[in-house]
Symmetry: C2
Subunit: 336 residues, 2 copies
């Protein structure tokens, strides 16, 4: 099999290139068949990479890009200006076949807009959806859309279901249970879009559609793929992150409430900190932009080096599984 | 001041009348000016109440109702049938001035439908909204709507903001910060309804509107009142409950992973269990139906006796503050 090269937008995210380079090198060490191309300020990246072992260095290359897209720049500005932005150059490497995926922790709106402009969407897809894995009692589930599409028709939800199902299969689930997020599980519940999407999904062959799911059912692990519009998905993801942080804060103060609690805390807090990382899904996992003619993974802007590694790992799996080609095939079969 | 009588639908909820009677008696003991009317199967309720102290008994009366509404009955059936259902009889006590509020842990859709039929909505309100307090880093915030209205216009969101603000004031917050839930905080973010509602709220006098809030901002405590459509609110509330339960499960298994962890668990788990109750908002707190000509509180179907007490407590405060009258005044001032 040919080399798996991932283009890394080394300048995006809140923590800057140092943490991204660190995550990149850790991934090279753990995955021998992986090659990475860091895109950004060449001299800075050379310096950060500088002291690495020759063995790691052999699979790491640097491509210069002189501009950086700020976290608060508007997508419309980004599309017109900054032809040499690290994010754009990384996407162009994918377009030109010099890399098989792009990973960025930069501005989400800019990444979405540039991905559409540079890579184009698959036939039949208006706008890519964002999907990420969130933890559940049963393991994890793929939740989409996470905010790219705030107004969705029933057809959009149907496309998300098809793409989410294929993404879950690529991640190793043989027959993913696909559910529509709703305010109840009875047929009469929900808004028009959700009811119409349910009708479309009930008639779809080759999809393991299991019906409606409620918010608590998501975390109980009642489905492998949960479909909703981007408004709802974004609120679910971010509020979960907020609640996980709130619980973490409260637990820390619990262990300061007395001598016994402090002693217990010495044992418990390190365990709980690991749990918190795992359960703050947005921060931990990469989100995949589905529906493009290429693989693009968005890492959380404030992801730790470990979170960025998860994003690279997701890109690697999607390359192995050739997800865009599989999606194109499935969409061709299923969509009118 | 006149007596504060709360009519309790003693037959609703997953745990049956025993747990409801227990919660009712606990509330009578903690609140000397409270009177309760239990509505349901009279002989059963007499038996459950039977051995209580005469002092408690003096403020507790039983009203017979021969029928019970099932948790899965459709609102349309409930409206036509069961004239002697405990839920209906409890609401009629409020309508007839024999009680100042109704609390039920029964079927939410039925309670909403019967409340509208029996009590009627306030002028200008199409459909009541459900609001509940959720915990935040700063204390708590009132979140609405929680599922009564899945399709909302900008005007509906505006009404929710007005009612939520007044409810928060009744609960003791002098100048509640009101925010609109959105997928970002910039003006360009969101769907049409949210953008239009923002324009209405920016022009409203007497409301402390603070702009958009994201899911994580809700739990950070950035607002006292968070407004969204019922679909989004329901998903936020239920997914939070699911995540809190998931975290609880994971924590319990952490404390089984070794001798030291088990010892730490002896101290930590009781503390964490209390925290879990506090942070599973739907189970713990009562939700208020706002916009009716009367006070109706919905307790979670699987609420513990403690959760049901919270619901009675919320009803008691809303009576003290005469919330429906205050809402009517505010809506008259603010709505066209």
């Amino acid at each position: 099999m040919s080399a798996r090269i991932i283009a890394i937008d080394a300048m995006g995210g809140d923590f800057g290139p140092r943490s991204i380079v660190q995550a990149s090198i850790a991934c090279l060490r753990s995955t021998p068949s992986l090659h990475l191309t860091l895109v950004g300020h060449a001299s800075l990246l050379e310096e950060l990479v500088g002291s690495q072992l020759a063995a790691d260095r052999a699979r790491l290359c640097i491509v210069a890009a002189s501009e950086v897209i700020g976290m608060d720049e508007r997508p419309s500005q980004v599309l017109r200006g900054k032809p040499d932005a690290s994010m754009r150059v990384a996407l162009e490497l994918v377009r030109d076949g010099k890399a098989q995926a792009c990973v960025s922790a930069g501005n989400t709106g800019a990444l979405m807009a540039l991905s559409r402009q540079v890579l184009k969407t698959l036939p039949g897809i208006d706008r890519p959806a964002m999907v990420a894995a969130i933890p559940t009692q049963a393991g994890c589930c793929q939740l989409l859309d996470l905010g790219a599409n705030v107004d969705c028709s029933a057809e959009h939800l149907y496309q998300f279901a098809v793409m989410g199902s294929e993404a879950a299969r690529a991640l190793g689930i043989a027959r993913p249970r696909v559910a529509l997020l709703n305010v109840g599980t009875e047929d009469i519940k929900g808004n028009q879009q959700v009811k119409q999407a349910a009708a479309l999904l009930q008639g779809a062959s080759g999809l393991n559609y299991v019906g409606f799911i409620e918010g608590d059912g998501v975390y109980r692990g009642e489905a492998d793929v949960v479909v909703c519009d981007g408004f709802v998905g974004n609120v679910l993801l971010k509020s979960s992150e907020g609640l996980a942080t709130l619980i973490g804060t409260r637990i820390q103060s619990l262990f300061r409430t007395g001598v016994l609690a402090r002693m217990a805390g010495l044992v418990a807090l390190p365990l709980l900190r690991r749990l918190h990382t795992e359960l703050a899904p947005a921060r931990h996992n990469g989100a995949s932009l589905l529906g493009l003619q290429g693989i693009v993974i968005k890492s959380h802007g404030s992801a730790s080096a470990e979170g960025f590694q998860s994003a690279i790992h997701r890109a690697f799996i999607e390359i192995q599984e050739d997800l865009p080609r599989r999606l194109q095939g499935r969409l061709g079969d299923l969509l009118r």
